[in-house]
Every structure is written in structure tokens, then in C-alpha cells.
Symmetry: C2
């Protein structure tokens, strides 16, 4: 959402986006504008150095350690401080606040890195036998507590790092399917496909670090999913190692053989087992790409335009719409960062009567002729719906910065700024009201604790029946009560989402963060059905305790929700 | 597959396609050609009259009857011979052979017709309490034993007829979603949508009789599913009454909230509960339709052409390809039925060097401009792939006869001809070999018992990664051993499908017929996961016993398969 400027950072913190390695940085100018706007008066607050992050002594028993070493080799059972900190959390605001403050007490007792499907199965067998909880870990980019090393009722927990399972297992260029091991990153998978003129077309913002297994386990969607489909549309088959054995669904284009086993494992978040392989539909790499900007006089008008596109079967491959708050924030920051184009653009939009403009980005990726034709058709429909064509510049600016957002977050935290995102989706008839009610609720919840937030929202995925809403919130951190401040806001926003008919998560998954609202979505009996599957595949409950659905009978997530609501 | 001629029939048998009511008939000419070709020397074999079909005395206990009457009203608990026979079976060849021969011993003890979601729940509560098995019944068009009234371990079984649940509950014209009660027929649902300028676009061959609930319960696909999507693509939310309570998934365009609960109920075949309502994506009714014929020199060449279309994102909304056997059969029958066009067409194709032509039908349903443009693009690709354009005549002939096939089956049975269909799907790399191996296996299995069959096959659904194969088989009936003859052939074909990497069913569901092969598809542990869900939602196992997955622990379908294989 925010434009990045300046040289790439060079620090390596072992945590933070991309492990804290080189990435885009927020300019000092933009940072200061934001601090002023949010009323941040405190000084900068850099994180504690990695080596000062406190972790507990490893609770792994000697028998468990020996068993795991037999399963994967001594060099792949890592109890070092650095490895444990790097696997202590995902990338939610809460995760970052805790680690920046030196609290690594949630770290796993060891990091175990199997090198094959067989080693995954062997490691699970040891953990089941020795009563060790297992948290599968891909890119570690979960923002919902999905890789949080929960112990459940077990004395020890290991993070099962799948980074060594990084092969392209099979490529079927006739059927356009690729079978990957789960731990390969999205970026590397794309590079291997690109060498054959192919693409998966799955580009979540976490693309550089997230893994294929993580995509599947979290039911993710990419920035071009309007065109390529969500990951649940792309998975044709998979293998999943569970404590009770392997679940395997052979790759088949479509089937009527009962409830979908694939759809039971997709989104299972490591709570049923470890996805070890997935066969995905791929496409021939597009030979042409075009991204364009449009501006609308209101969010409602822009949403109606996207609805018209989607329902006419004319949805671009990328279709995004920022609300006035997000558009304003982006233009302000671009201007603060020295982007003169942003000022000129704002003047132009005012001249055209758009005082609170809402920027849309649409993009097509296809063969040349289809990009032209589809682009022309979409453009006609967007203009007819009141869109002001801004040409390719805003589109290409978006494309350049599409993976940058999370890097900037670390700089915002340095600056004493609360920054978090969350998302939902609903049907078109509820979209505008959900956008309004969630924004108002969030503002109210933060204001009640004395902070006046900046909130932006965008549609990032459109369907014939509805669209997603992705919120970004910035506010002055409540020093000393950072977690309480955010939790109060998150609970309020989640309740507003459920009340407004939205899903509790459109592409970030349930994890531990959204668990209290799962039953609002699928009902108590739906949760019980999932729990029954978990009890069969993970009889002792070692798999990712506390995520998706707790194993224990009668431990419905509902009480937790009531507790959160006070 | 076969052209219908002659006046519509007027008999009403209470069973057979459409309840044996008026429908297209096979011409005497076509019938005689077929009898000669198949070597049928026996006389015609009409079915026994309805009133002579033997059923068992109702085993419903007085308490169960009274409870059900309290739940749904006395006029909706029907123990009459006629109602019981009409719910005794689906529409598989085996079903028809049994009923035609007077064997109605599989009939349910009563037919119970609830009028609301509440009455469904009340009826299930009575059945659970009184230990009565429940078989949900929509249009009764299952060809896989899905509505076969299995008793399981219970003394009595009722057929739960959902015909009174036939309302359009809600229509959201902004989000383009429609919520239907489960028992409304596809045809009536389309009529209601049509009145608002909308369509579901779901046209299985059973469209006139099958129900929305049946579509969802069997994971069905329609003839235009390449364009509109399979039913699993269309369902956004649903309600399902189970013995343990209601499972409800609210309609949401897309979600990452864990494994898909919707996808767990879609395809559950009444074995988990009774689908009572479904919310489906609808579209604006197309304002233009165009169907065209193409001919290919071989099945492989035609399949390659469809692959090129699908992978270029240029798939028509309807895309079918008959193999040489099916094309020949259709042309022969059309000629025998007096269709001079068929003879001329065959001469023309010979002149153009296609001695064993394979006919393809492609169709577009959209707004005028898009039909033209998409049609032109597909046509270019089909010609480039060797397709000979035959113009709109074959396309419109297909469109006219698209729902006729099953009616003709009753006439073929009268004529002493075994007639059955089954289907599969696989990835493109395996398609041609699967087509060959299944055809050869089927021929061999029937020949081993002395019949030389006519076998036709078509692709009816194309995907980027693969396609479906739909086989039709005709053979001389083995009098007195009709069921044994077909079972031997079906087992052999199913084994060939599994061995060749196909799904055991692409759109007919599992039912009782495909149960022995489910574990080959999803693995033993996959079956166990489904069984765990069933045990939670249907704790005593009253729901559709013997379908999809038996309830009893340890009663894996695998032994049944071994038994079948001998």
C-alpha cells in the first residue's frame, strides 16, 4: 500500500519480512509525514538485537531428540537460539511486537528439517510416540498465528521446517500440471516453470517467501487470482503425511467421487497433517501484460464497475480497487517520498471533480491479441461505469511495488506505528455496507483507546457473486499495551465482519487468530465435523495444536470468542 | 447418443425415465438395425405391468409410522404399492432390469414427503429414534444405486422424497445468486430463473427430472459445464439436515476459513444428511447461442483440438467429441430412422478422407458480440487442429436431442438390448490410452460371455488439465443372466479405469455401484476420514446405508471390490 523508496536494507535480523534481509525501505520523509498524521510523539523504537531475544530452555526429551535425529539426521535437528527464534512466530503484528520486544518464549524447542516424504513420516511417527507437538513451517509468512509453536497438552513442540522439500517432482506439459514438493517457495517454483515457458500465476503478496505447501495449507489467493484462480482452483492432487498415515489424492481434472478429499486438505493449516506434495495446474507463460489505472468518484461506484466486469465474464486477471482512504494515503506518501506524479495526479482528479478519488488497477496477462481485445472490452465497461482512465502509469507502479508492503512494516514499527492488515469477502449486495461498518468499527475501537487511525481498504479479488475487502490500519502505538490495543481492535473488526455477512478470512487462513469466529462461519456442527476428521488423522492431537480446530472434544472455539468479547 | 423419432409415448409405468411418462421414442427402423447388428434373435421383451411388481410387506413399525405422521402429516407418509415401486430404484441398467422383471423387493417400506426444512429435521429425528434407515430421493435419476433403499442394519427403510421442497427461497440479482429448496427440479428452477432473465446454466442429461439437491448431492456436471462450471463451482452455500443437527454454510464468494465445508457436503450423496437448501451462482440468460459441428479424422486428433482450446482459455461453453464408434452408431441410426442428412454427411466425410470420422459439437452461449468473437476464435483453433467445419446443423441436432437419450433406453430394453453408460475423467496425457484400454476391456468382458457389443464414447467436459470420457455400451442381453452379464463387464471396465489413472466417476457419483473403487481414488485413509465425518453427523448410520461410505468401523469398501473381482 505504501510506496517504498531508498536503498535496500542490509541488516539481517533472523525474523521480520524475508528473515529481515535486504528489502525495500520506507523513506524517512514518508515516515515523518505518517508519524505527524498519527500523532506519534515517542522516539524511534528499534527492535532488540537477535541475540538478546529470550527463549526458554529446550524441553525436548533425550528420547525425542534421538528419535528425530534417527529420522532426519543430526544436522537437521536444530536447537540453536537463532533457528528457534526464526521459527518462533509468523508475521502478524502481534508476532512482530513480541519478537521486537525480545520475547521469544513461544519459540519451538527444536527445528526439524526432513529431506523427503519418508523423513516427514518418520519424524511424525517419533513425535506421536514421544508426545511432541508438531508445527509445519513453510515460508513462515502466516499473519494469523498459523506457525505459532503451540504446545497444546504436550511438554515439547518442534517446528517442522519443510525448506529441504524443494523439488519440482514432475512436469506434465501436455496436461499442464506440475507436481512440487511442499517446501519450495513460490518464487523458486515460478523460476523453474519459467524455464519451461510456464507459470503457476499465483502471486500472493508473500510470493517471495511463502511456499507451495503453505499456499495449499492456507487456501491462499494471489494478486492475479481473478484470472488464474485461487490455489483451491489450481490443486488437482496432493499428498499429506498424517500421524495416521498418508492421505493421497491422485491428480484428476474433476471428479464426482464423493466429498472432495482435496478440498478437505486444502486449508487444513497443518492441523490434520503435513502436506508434502501438491500437483497444480499451470499455464503457458503470458506473452503480453498490461496494467492500467482508473479512478472512480466513490468506492461504491468503483465496486459497481468491478461487479459489471465480473458478471459480464470480462474480469481482468488483476482487478483491484482502493477506497478513498487508501488512495489518499498512497498519494500522500508518494508525494512525501518525492513522487511528483502523485501531486499532479491529485490535482488532475480534483479538476475532474473527484475530490475523494478511488484508484483502481486492472491488468491482463495473456497472448498479445487477447490482452488487446480483453483490455479494450474491460476498458469500455469501466468507462461506461464512470471510471476515469489514467493510463498504464499507475498500473505499472502497482506492479513494481506489489510485493513491497510487508518489508515496509518493519520500518513502520521502528517508527512507533501500529500497522496490520486483515481481509474478508462477501457478496456484492453486502459489500459497501460491510466496507463501511468494518471501517467505522475499527476506527471506534482504536479511538476508544485514544488513537486516531488511518484506515485504508481495497478490493483485491472479484468474483461473479462478490469480492474481497482488504483493510490496512495504521495508528499510534499504545506503548506498553501494544498487544492489548490491537487485540481490542481486531476483536471489534472481526465481530463486525461476521455481523455483516463476511467471511472471517478470504485468503489469510484461520490459524489461532481467527479460531474464535470459525463456528460463526461453518456452525458448531461444521466445526465438529472437522474435529472428527482431525481425531481420525491425528489421534493424539500433535498436529499444530490450537490452530484451525482444537483436537479436544468439547473444546469448541466459541468460548474463546466469548472470552475475547468479554 | 441415439436419435429419437416417432411420436411421444403415452404409457405411464411409474418407473423408467420420467416415471415412464410421455417422451421421445426409438423408431422401429433404428431398433431393428440395432437388433441385427447385435445379433439379438429373441422376441421383444416388454416389462411386467406396474401392479404385478412384487414388493415386500412394509416393515415400518407402528411407532415409526406414527412418529413420521406427526412429523410430516398422514397424507405424506405413503405406503402404497405404486409409491413404493416408484421409489424402489434409480435408473441404472440393473435397476431397470430388476423392475421390468417384476422384482420390486428393494422398495422402501414407505415414502415420506416432508414439506419444509423443519419437517425434514423432524422426520430424521423419528428415524434415528426408531431405527429406520433414510434414503433421500430427489428426481430418482441416479444411475449408480444412489437412491437404492438400502436397509443397512435396520429393519425398515423410508425413501425421503424431497419433491415438496420446491421453492425458490431467495434471489439476489445484484450478487447473481439464487437459493433453492433441494427438491425443485432443474427444469422448474430454470423456468423460475428464466422469468427474471437469469439461468443456472446447469444441464445434465437428467435435467428435466433431477433436482437441485440431487445435483449438489452427486457433484454433477452439466452439458455446458465447460462454460458455466460444474455444480461444485456453482454452490456458494447450503443447509444440510443431519441426524446430529443442521450443517450450514453461509453463501460466500470465496473463503480461506479452513477446509471447505461446502465441498464436504457437495457429493455426500445423502450419506451424511439431507441437503435441504443450496445457494448457487446464476448468470444473466445468454442472448445468443450457437452450436456447430466439426469432424476429425481420429479421436486423438479431436482430443488434441479440444486440449488446444481449453489450454488457450478458448473453451466453448459446450465442447463434446464422439469417437469413431459413437459417431458411426449415431450416423447409422439417423440413417435408419430416415435421416437422409446422415447418409449425405457420411459420403461427404469419406470424400474428405475421413473414413472413421469423429464428430465434435461445440457451442457458445453469451451476448451476441461475444458469441461471434469467441466462436471465431475457437473455430480458428479447431481448423488449425485439423477439424473439418460442418456448420450449425449437427450442432443444433445435438441441442434438440440433448435430453432424449435416457427415454430411448426403455425402448432398447424392450428390444432385448443391454444398454448402459458410465464415465470417467483423466489428464490429457492419459486420455487416449484410457479411451483405448477401457473400450478394449469392455469388449473383451462382454465377448467372453458371447456378446459382441457396440461401444461408443465421447468427451463431454474439457478442462485445462484433462477431460471426461463417457462410454455407452449396447449388447445382446444374456437372457436370464442379465445382471451377471452386466456386472462382469462393469467390474472389468472399472478396474481398467482405475488402472489407467481415471476417476471412478466424473459426474455420476459413487452410490453403491462405485463404492468398491472409492479407496483406489482417495486411499484407505481418505475413506476413513469420510467415515469419521459420517460417524459424527450420522452417529447411528441411518443415512443412505451402503452408499458412498459404509458407516461401520472396519467395513472398508475394499473387500467388496476384491469379492467382485473374484
Amino acid at each position: 500500500m505504501l510506496p517504498a523508496t531508498g536503498a535496500a536494507g542490509t541488516s539481517e535480523r533472523g525474523w521480520g519480512w524475508g528473515g529481515g534481509r535486504a528489502g525495500p525501505r520506507l523513506s524517512a520523509g514518508a515516515r515523518d509525514v505518517l508519524r505527524r498524521a498519527l500523532g506519534v510523539a515517542t522516539g524511534l523504537a528499534p527492535p532488540v538485537p537477535l541475540e538478546q531475544i529470550e527463549v526458554r530452555a529446550s524441553a525436548l526429551s533425550d528420547r525425542a531428540r534421538e528419535g528425530l535425529i534417527r529420522a532426519v539426521g543430526a544436522e537437521h535437528v536444530d536447537e540453536d537460539h537463532r533457528a528457534r527464534v526464526a521459527h518462533a512466530a509468523g508475521q502478524s503484528y502481534e508476532d512482530l511486537v513480541r519478537l521486537r520486544g525480545g520475547d521469544g518464549r513461544g519459540a519451538p524447542d527444536a527445528v526439524v528439517a526432513p529431506g523427503s516424504r519418508e523423513e516427514v513420516a518418520a519424524a511424525l511417527a517419533v513425535c506421536r510416540e514421544e508426545e511432541v507437538a508438531v508445527v509445519p513451517f513453510g515460508g513462515g509468512t502466516s499473519v494469523v498465528g498459523g506457525v505459532e509453536p503451540g504446545r497444546g497438552r504436550f511438554p515439547a513442540v518442534v517446528s517442522l521446517d519443510l525448506g529441504r522439500l524443494d523439488r519440482l517432482v514432475a512436469l506434465d506439459e501436455r496436461s499442464l500440471t506440475a507436481t512440487f514438493e511442499a517446501g519450495i517457495s513460490g518464487r523458486r517454483a515460478e523460476a523453474l516453470l519459467d524455464a519451461r515457458g510456464l507459470t503457476l500465476g499465483h502471486f500472493p503478496q508473500s510470493f517471495e517467501h511463502a511456499t507451495i505447501g503453505g499456499y495449499v495449507a492456507t487456501r491462499s489467493a494471489g494478486q492475479a487470482s481473478a484470472g488464474y484462480g485461487r490455489v483451491d482452483d489450481l490443486v488437482l492432487g496432493l499428498r499429506c503425511a498424517t500421524p495416521a498415515g498418508e492421505v493421497r489424492a491422485r491428480p484428476i481434472p474433476a471428479s464426482a467421487a464423493g466429498p472432495s478429499l482435496v478440498e478437505l486438505i486444502v486449508g487444513s493449516e497443518g492441523a490434520l497433517g503435513v502436506i508434502t506434495e501438491a500437483t497444480l495446474a499451470v499455464r503457458r507463460r503470458p506473452t503480453a501484460r498490461r496494467y492500467e489505472g482508473f479512478s472512480f468518484a466513490s468506492f461504491e461506484a468503483g465496486a459497481e464497475a468491478l461487479r459489471a466486469l465480473a458478471q459480464a465474464g470480462a474480469a481482468p486477471d488483476v482487478a483491484r480497487l482502493s477506497d478513498a482512504g487508501e488512495t489518499s494515503l498512497a498519494l500522500t506518501q508518494a508525494a512525501a517520498g518525492g513522487g511528483l506524479g502523485a501531486r499532479a495526479l491529485r490535482r488532475y482528479l480534483r479538476l475532474r471533480g473527484q475530490r475523494r478519488p478511488c484508484l483502481a488497477i486492472v491488468g491482463w496477462e495473456d497472448v498479445e491479441g487477447e490482452v488487446s481485445r480483453r483490455g479494450a472490452r474491460s476498458t469500455r465497461l469501466l468507462r461506461a461505469a464512470g471510471g476515469l482512465a489514467l493510463g498504464p502509469r499507475p498500473g505499472h507502479a502497482w506492479a513494481r511495488g506489489r510485493f513491497e508492503g510487508p518489508y515496509l512494516r518493519d520500518d513502520l514499527l521502528d517508527a512507533g506505528i501500529l500497522v496490520e492488515t486483515f481481509e474478508t469477502a462477501t457478496t456484492w449486495d453486502r459489500l459497501a455496507e460491510l466496507h463501511r461498518s468494518v471501517g467505522a468499527t475499527l476506527t471506534g475501537a482504536l479511538a476508544a483507546r485514544g488513537a486516531t487511525p488511518l484506515i485504508g481498504c481495497h478490493v483485491s479479488h472479484v468474483y461473479r457473486s462478490g469480492a474481497s475487502l482488504y483493510f490496512t490500519v495504521l495508528a499510534r502505538q499504545e506503548r506498553g499495551c501494544e498487544l492489548e490495543q490491537w487485540r481490542a481492535a481486531k476483536v471489534a473488526a472481526s465481530e463486525a465482519i461476521v455481523a455483516g455477512g463476511g467471511t472471517i478470512t478470504h485468503h489469510h487462513a484461520v490459524g489461532s487468530v481467527h479460531l474464535p469466529w470459525l463456528s460463526a462461519e461453518v456452525g458448531e456442527l461444521g466445526v465438529e465435523a472437522l474435529r472428527a476428521v482431525k481425531a481420525r488423522l491425528d489421534p493424539t492431537g500433535i498436529m499444530n495444536p490450537g490452530k484451525l480446530v482444537p483436537w479436544e472434544e468439547g473444546s469448541s472455539p466459541e468460548p474463546a470468542r466469548r472470552e475475547l468479547r468479554g
